[in-house]
């Protein structure tokens, strides 16, 4: 309201100094994606225009997220509170190192998938609304990573859930509806549990602002049912992340949509669950996490073993990669269960590398199916002879997924293993090693059958076995090679990523700077304007 001469002291309720432009970086990714998604929805029928506008938008998203990460590295967490209200009453968007890094990496993955979609999503898929859904999905993902309010986190979960339903049924095939139904019901149950937990939390704390919760956690009376609350949160996020007893929706649905959509889901959605899990258990309720750590560790070990066995058993390479996604979640959950800063930094590093690796693996699977002639390991073959460059690129990504040197997948596994051995959880370390071994065998099997075996032995006409060129198409080659290059670079030179995840883990464990950015010295630093 424009009431400049009111008798009330507005500074008690409102932020009266103009926010510096840098703070806009916190909301910019979400605003950009929602606005662009809405705009693309309006021009849904202009099939050609959609792709180029969406790619320009995703590139801008990467730049904005990079700017945000740079600012957070430089000056600590950044906060903007909606509508000028003072926190904790206004909804805060707060980016710390963890959130900003996740937002940047997921934007890169989305850009790669967007480029791949130029070829993979045909005109019908675009009219159906692939690009608007992609933009809204990214709005949900970025919002989840950047929000500083736990109810707002729930809202972003809903946004990404609804757009993921749209992406999942793109094309309206019966098979997709079947997959979408399982996905939708399990995820709706998880979000409802999350909402119930948020209600509980509000009843206990009287606030939904994460910084405020972190501030008040130590001063609560001892009778507060915080372990129950944390348990509810852990269950809800574990369902989202596909942790073992509640993971069955993922293999049932992730192979049904278009492959780009699978790639986006495998790369991003489960990691949002892990992000929320880390945010709530490590930053908000560290004491209660301690009490639940054994349960989480057992769930993590079971997830690791079951997922790796599942990957071994699959013939359809899309389903196989679905199990690899779950196996990765097991590793990250193990880090949450151990809970030391070293383990948390391992989990964060795992999440960052896994976003890229899993997105890339699904794209590799699509390419392999195109060159090898089938999705099934029983009938595909001859890729090595038909396209040597593609075979090498996929080999690198397979190494990264299995956690073998010299690719980026190695380092998070090493950090997590070391963290597990440091606290004497030998069985958890053993589960990780067995999982890595089994995944290596599963991917080796893919390579043996799909790449090295001549088509003739797979029972297909050998006449098809002529060189297929570099990749099947330039627009599909670019993201796959880009992702492989990223994993190779950060595998050979992991220092920046390791440091980043260590700093992110420390700031999660000790959220003083996070709280200060919402409540404290940020106001002082901004001052000077009466």
């Amino acid at each position: 309201m424009a009431a400049p001469q009111s008798a009330v002291d507005l500074s008690a309720a409102l932020i009266l100094t103009p926010p510096p432009l840098g703070e806009w970086l916190v909301v910019a990714p979400v605003v950009l994606m929602i606005g662009l998604g809405a705009f693309l929805l309006m021009i849904r029928k202009s099939v050609r225009l959609q792709g180029s506008i969406a790619l320009a938008g995703l590139s801008l998203l990467v730049l904005l997220d990079a700017g945000l990460l740079w600012r957070v590295l430089d000056q600590g967490p950044v906060t903007m509170v909606m509508g000028r209200w003072l926190p904790p009453f206004g909804i805060a968007f707060t980016a710390d190192l963890f959130g900003a890094a996740m937002a940047l990496v997921s934007a890169i993955a989305a850009l790669g998938a967007g480029i791949y979609a130029l070829r993979d999503i045909d005109a019908a898929g675009r009219r159906y609304g692939f690009y608007p859904f992609l933009m809204l999905l990214m709005a949900g993902v970025s919002g989840s990573f950047l929000t500083g309010d736990i109810f707002n986190l729930y809202v972003w979960f809903e946004v990404l859930l609804i757009s993921s339903f749209g992406l999942l049924v793109l094309g309206s095939e019966p098979r997709q509806i079947d997959g979408a139904l399982k996905y939708a019901i399990l995820n709706l149950i998880a979000t409802t549990l999350f909402l119930i937990a948020v209600g509980y939390l509000y009843a206990i704390f009287g606030t939904l602002n994460m910084a405020d919760i972190a501030r008040k956690a130590a001063t609560l009376p001892s009778g507060a049912p915080l372990v129950t609350l944390t348990g509810l949160f852990v269950l809800a996020f574990a369902m989202k992340a596909a942790v073992f007893p509640v993971n069955f929706w993922l293999p049932a649905s992730y192979h049904t949509p278009r492959i780009v959509v699978s790639a986006l889901f495998g790369g991003l959605l489960t990691k949002v669950g892990i992000y929320a899990l880390l945010r709530v258990t490590i930053m908000l309720m560290p004491v209660q996490r301690e009490q639940l750590s054994l349960v989480m560790a057992i769930a993590a070990a079971l997830t690791l073993i079951v997922a790796a066995l599942g990957a071994l058993a699959q013939h359809d390479i899309r389903r196989l990669i679905g199990y690899l996604v779950i196996a990765g979640i097991g590793n990250m959950l193990a880090g949450v269960a151990i809970g030391t800063p070293a383990a948390v930094s391992g989990s964060i590093l795992y999440a960052l590398t896994s976003i890229i690796t899993m997105t890339a693996l699904y794209l590799v699977a699509a390419e392999a199916a195109r060159i090898g002639g089938s999705w099934s390991l029983a009938t595909m073959g001859g890729i090595w002879r038909r396209s040597f460059p593609f075979a090498i690129t996929s080999f690198l990504l397979f190494l990264s997924a299995a956690g073998l040197p010299p690719l980026a997948g190695l380092w998070p596994k090493v950090s997590l293993l070391k963290a597990a051995i440091d606290i004497g959880a030998w069985w958890l370390a053993a589960a990780m090693l067995i999982q890595a071994f089994l995944v290596t065998i599963a991917l080796g099997r893919v390579f043996l059958l799909a790449y090295w075996r001549p088509l003739a032995e797979a029972g297909m006409p050998a006449a098809d076995e002529e060189p297929a060129g570099f990749f099947s198409d330039k627009t599909t080659a670019l993201p796959v090679i880009g992702f492989a290059a990223l994993t190779l670079i950060f595998g050979l030179y992991p220092e920046p990523l390791l440091q980043l995840s260590q700093r992110a883990a420390l700031s999660l464990a000790d959220p003083t700077a996070y709280i200060a950015s919402v409540f404290g010295p940020s106001d002082l630093g901004r001052g000077g304007n009466p």
Binding site: P19, V27, G35, F39, L40, I43, M80, R84
Partner: protein, 157 residues
């Protein structure tokens, strides 16, 4: 539905309902009402029109595709929040202007344009759901299922 009474009354009722929905939308700033409920009221008017004259008539009357209307609403709401960038206040802060038109002060605000966006989102989204449900499975719907297990049931209609 093919009754004379409904067909005669429907245009008037729809017009009144749409008018009422705008009234509820504008009233919403200080009293019960607002974009969401206003949008729902508008959809109920359009649904009645559809029941009386068929889905095609509603689509023609709307001119734009309902989803495009929803997109425009979302876009408008996003813009309303972004205007605060140029006013030097945080995102989503309400900003007001008071133009005088024919001697009357008319308070306009970004809050209102945001609510108008909500109205359009609800109008577009729910209308497109309602129209999809009301639509009789015609040749357009059959086209998708021309596979071996989806024989054309209404092939000769």
């Amino acid at each position: 539905m093919n009754t004379l009474i409904l067909r005669t009354v429907a245009p008037f009722v729809t017009a009144l309902t749409l008018l009422f929905s705008v009234f509820v939308l504008l009233r919403g700033h200080n009293e019960p009402g607002g974009g969401f409920i206003g949008g729902l009221i508008a959809v109920s008017g359009l649904a009645l029109y559809g029941i009386a004259f068929g889905v095609g008539a509603v689509r023609r009357a709307l001119h734009f595709h309902p989803m495009a209307i929803a997109g425009a609403g979302l876009f408008l709401s996003t813009l309303s929040g972004t205007i605060s960038l140029f006013a030097g206040v945080p995102f989503m802060t309400g900003l007001w202007i008071y133009p005088h038109l024919f001697g009357t002060e008319i308070p306009l605000s970004t809050v209102m344009s945001f609510d108008l966006g909500v109205y359009l989102v609800v109008l577009g989204a729910i209308t497109s759901i309602a129209l999809a449900l009301e639509q009789e499975p015609g040749p357009e719907a059959d086209e998708r299922q021309s596979g071996p297990d989806g024989p054309q049931k209404r092939g000769d209609v």
